[in-house]
């Protein structure tokens, strides 16, 4: 799965997510990605989220909207993302990850899987990583 969250110069937020699903899936299986609130959510008043990981678990927990609700309740983007993914993993014993932007441009990146590739641009630098507690930096 791949995803992107952006805020433009007018302060508008958009989110996109795309996937081939899971290897060996049944013909006709639908995961979290096209289900708004599970794989994708955006609200200019709060922020935006794109998820990846075990689709059936993500959709049962409506992970993208859960993160938005946490932020709407006052959590910062990083805390909200961490809480929602940890709750899903604890409850359903499967892994996932998410990227989040708050309406003010704060970043959230968290994954309970072994790895998740991510990157963002801020102040003409690219911050990126794939392993836990890893943040690499390069010029844009």
């Amino acid at each position: 799965t791949v995803g992107a969250v952006a805020i433009d110069s007018n302060g508008h937020i958009a989110v996109a997510t795309s996937t081939g699903g899971m290897s060996g899936k049944a013909v006709g299986r639908i995961g979290d990605t096209p289900q708004i609130g599970s794989g994708t959510y955006a609200d200019d008043q709060v922020g935006g989220v794109s998820t990846t990981g075990h689709g059936e678990s993500i959709l049962k927990c409506c992970v993208a909207h859960s993160i938005i609700k946490y932020m709407g309740g006052g959590k910062d983007a990083s805390t909200a993302t961490t809480l929602a993914i940890q709750e899903m993993t604890k409850r359903l014993n499967n892994t996932a990850g998410a990227i989040t932007l708050s309406k003010s441009g704060d970043v959230g990146v968290y994954f309970s899987s072994n790895r998740m590739a991510w990157a963002y641009v801020k102040n003409n630098k690219i911050y990126y990583g794939i392993d836990h507690d890893q943040t690499l930096v390069t010029d844009l």
Partner: protein, 166 residues
Amino acid sequence: MQPIIIVHGGAGDIPESRINGKLEGVKEAVRVGYKILSSGGSALDSVEAAVVSMENDEYFNAGYGSVLNVRGEVEMEASIMCGKNLDVGAVTLIRDFKHPISIAHKVLTDSPHSLLGGEGAKIFALDKGFETVPPESLISENAKHALESSKNEFGRTEIGVKGDVG
């Protein structure tokens, strides 16, 4: 407002051999998306372009390089959402198109609906000028190998428990 874009390239048990390709791919995707933002473009166009970049890259499970279903076929899905007015567009069970995210964007802008699937999504895409590609052109060697592996470990995540697949 200072524009910002963040992308992900998928979570899971990514092998060492795929790390460099994944990292190069996500860096390219944010460059593509940020170029649109920095020239005054919209967040919607930016996220679509970033995802299109990764749909073109066999290191990612989307577009070309998508994993295969039990019959060895590519069936994809995508969604896009606009935070300004909560407009959404999504497609599912889509085959034979290179960029599901672009079709989803068209559902958002050119349809009264939110989610189109299967044959209906194909009819909509063709009506909007999207062209089909040969099914095999979306299949990568890595996806074929992943399907073989999945026959023994379907639904497994790193925790090691069989996934409850709906």
